[in-house]
Symmetry: C2
């Protein structure tokens, strides 16, 4: 029908098609709601003018192969920083989830504040007190679906006029996330104690992101002197902050946990950040940060209108999981497991031909160390050789933004948390074979 044309009356069309007038009425009503026809008082319905041709009805596309690129399955993936997955506490988790659904229906359906639900923040505050000696109030804690989300909140909080200083070398994803969120980043060179205060000053960064308990990938533990130097830098001018990424502090396998920078900060210049994605499973998206009071006011005033990005259906069960002591038990069990795995791997290296041709570089913290090979092969050649043997190893040089120093050559990162015990000996044998020893 052409624009402006009058439609048959409802009664006429109903008679013509032998259907009820109510059906025609519903159809005309729907066409009018969508704007195809217009009613005019006392004269009926008229076709609306529409500028464009009507699109043909879409055909359902053929089901295609999954469009997501498939990642290769490695025999052993030492480049993946995931946690071990075989010990996820499924039965306890299922039990707590069921109980939460049964007993907390109303809370589950009540909107959470931007920073997360109170019981989870309380459970985390209690955990930080007993495990990290940190005295924080639940109100200072902000929960988010993964550390990346919290980084993006920090960019929103500080704004993109600030220069974010990042460790170089470092975990490349941190810089990518900050940059994707619009932040300007400066890469700060390290010495053997971690980030250098003179480099921060020279580059004029105002927000500095560090992992003082266990630097990734070098494993450096920042000594107490350097920590005080950084705190002094932060306290020199307003608007300077340190983000302490405490990502695997639960897994120091020798000695006691390294105390936090947050704990010795008396000026409110440190944001503490940690994640359950590392300690429970990478697929549980739950991280948190602790804001100093001044930032907390800012967060509430400027970002408090956001919805919490973590479902209540995850927050309440996790709160119970921690409160009932299961998180601590899980961490302890995993620490024992990782300690065994690390010893097994170190022994396998020592006992293989690698023992004389590779040097382990570590400080006993966290779930990775470095392995420096005595070889003439380039890092690229060696990486390719490893890959042909089903081994995924990332060279240390890859984690530098600036040109890597000569000392970084022949050095590879060994993430062992997700490498199963039963393949360790074979993985080390293949590694040695790649070095032709």
């Amino acid at each position: 029908m052409a624009a402006g044309q009058r439609l048959p009356s409802k009664r006429a069309l109903a008679a013509q098609l032998s259907i009820s007038t109510i059906t025609v009425e519903a159809a005309y009503g729907q066409l009018a709601d969508e704007g195809y026809i217009q009613p005019r008082p006392r004269s009926g319905y008229f076709v609306s003018p529409i500028a464009a041709p009507l699109a043909p009805a879409p055909a359902r596309p053929e089901p295609k192969a999954p469009a997501t690129p498939v990642t290769p399955a490695w025999f052993a993936d030492f480049a993946d920083s995931a946690a071990a997955t075989e010990d996820f506490p499924f039965s306890v988790w299922a039990k707590i989830y069921r109980e939460t659904l049964a007993s907390r229906a109303e809370a589950l359906l009540t909107r959470a504040p931007a920073a997360g639900v109170e019981p989870l923040r309380q459970a985390i505050a209690d955990h930080l007190w007993s495990f990290r000696g940190l005295a924080v109030s639940p109100g200072q804690i902000v929960i988010g679906p993964g550390a990346e989300y919290l980084y993006s909140l920090l960019v929103r909080l500080f704004g993109t006029a600030n220069l974010f200083g990042l460790e170089d070398p470092g975990y490349d994803k941190i810089g990518k996330v900050y940059a994707a969120c619009g932040a300007k980043c400066a890469f700060l060179p390290l010495d053997e104690d971690g980030v250098r205060p003179d480099a921060i000053r020279c580059q004029q960064a105002s927000i500095v992101h560090i992992s003082p308990s266990h630097h990734f990938p070098t494993g450096i533990i920042m000594p107490i002197r350097r920590r005080y130097e950084l705190l002094a830098w932060a306290d020199e001018a307003p608007g300077r902050y340190l983000i302490e990424d405490d990502y695997d502090s639960e897994f120091r396998l020798t000695g006691r946990p390294i105390p936090t920078l947050f704990g010795i900060d008396t000026a409110g210049r440190v944001i503490y950040l940690n994640t359950f994605s590392r300690s429970l499973a990478a697929t549980v998206r739950l991280s948190y940060m602790v804001l100093p009071p001044a930032l907390l006011r800012d967060f509430r005033a400027r970002l408090g209108f956001f919805s919490s990005a973590v479902s209540n259906f995850e927050q309440y069960p996790l709160a119970e999981f921690i409160r009932q002591g299961h998180f601590e038990k899980h961490i302890n069990r995993m620490r024992t497991k990782y300690r065994k795995r690390r010893s097994q791997l170190l022994a396998a290296i020592r006992q293989s031909p690698l023992g004389k041709k590779a040097q382990v570089i570590e400080a006993g913290s966290g779930l990775h160390f470095l392995l420096r090979f005595d070889t003439d092969q380039s890092d690229d050649d060696l990486t390719a050789r490893f890959q042909r043997q089903g081994l995924n190893l990332a060279p240390l040089a890859r984690y530098y933004q600036s040109p890597p120093p000569a000392s970084a050559a022949h050095t590879f990162l060994i993430n062992y948390a997700a490498v199963k015990s039963e393949i360790i000996e074979e993985a080390v044998r293949r590694m040695a074979a790649c070095l032709e020893i």
Copy 2:
């Protein structure tokens, strides 16, 4: 001890304190790891120089009252756009969750791509085909924890050089989220068909965020002619996109669902966005968007490194919930419920003194309508009066960024989804009392 001072030998200290040498060794090792002391080969341990005074051990703060501001409990909250909570399908959800934990342990612990897990994207694609007639491939779907998160992804995708055009009046949170993410926003005036293409051109917006199926708060359904005008605008120059926020299309209560803009877009200029936070519960943080192919390539290249921000422990159960037909059943049940609630509310208004002193403005879509009162009271006075009666009502004028037109006065938004049936008559009675009728 002073900087540079030598510590007693391990053996001497062990003897002096009558403890084992191993204990002293562990303590010295920890102090060295943290940087308090330094070993020198063949001469023992020496105190490191530290610039700052050591901080005193923190005292655990007294437990405080919850720091989160408490929201007042209303007798009836018509300003809250939350869904009804009394019908959340707890028992089905619990059953599916338990089954997923029991049968999909490996998938649950395998990292999800940035856009979400395949089975959920497949389930959503199937749902969009059968419910919305949209032929999309699962690979086009991006899952995120809430619409706000997806808005922030879109800002990252388009960059902050683009001007985002938003409906005025509109849902105020959308603009706040875009602005918090660093996007520049322009507010676009509406006419009775929705956003005006000449306003988009005049303000030079390049990304326009609209809800054509059911505009918030006016309830406008964008007619087909205006849709083609907007598509023509988008197709005129590269880099122009329309974001179709289809937030409550499941709940058109009269007639059939309004077809989407996405479905008639042949040029790949529309991003379709919808959320389960609205159809299941506000506390389930799960939304999705469908990207046209060109943007999909961009998303994968520039944002594909992000981790999915939704836990697998939510994604897999929801995929099953949809696949087994429970989502459709839930939607149908809720639609019936909302239809009853709406009729009850409209009848209560009609039968009360308001029947003659208030006009209902709506187009039969979604879970809110407007109520215009025949009154001399100002919106502020009336809002305050309502509040004293335990009624939370937001005036339409509040949703304008520009000065609201005179026609917006005395008009209030009625979100009825979360207002329980048993209080509707009393709420209407109190409303009428506030109007002194």
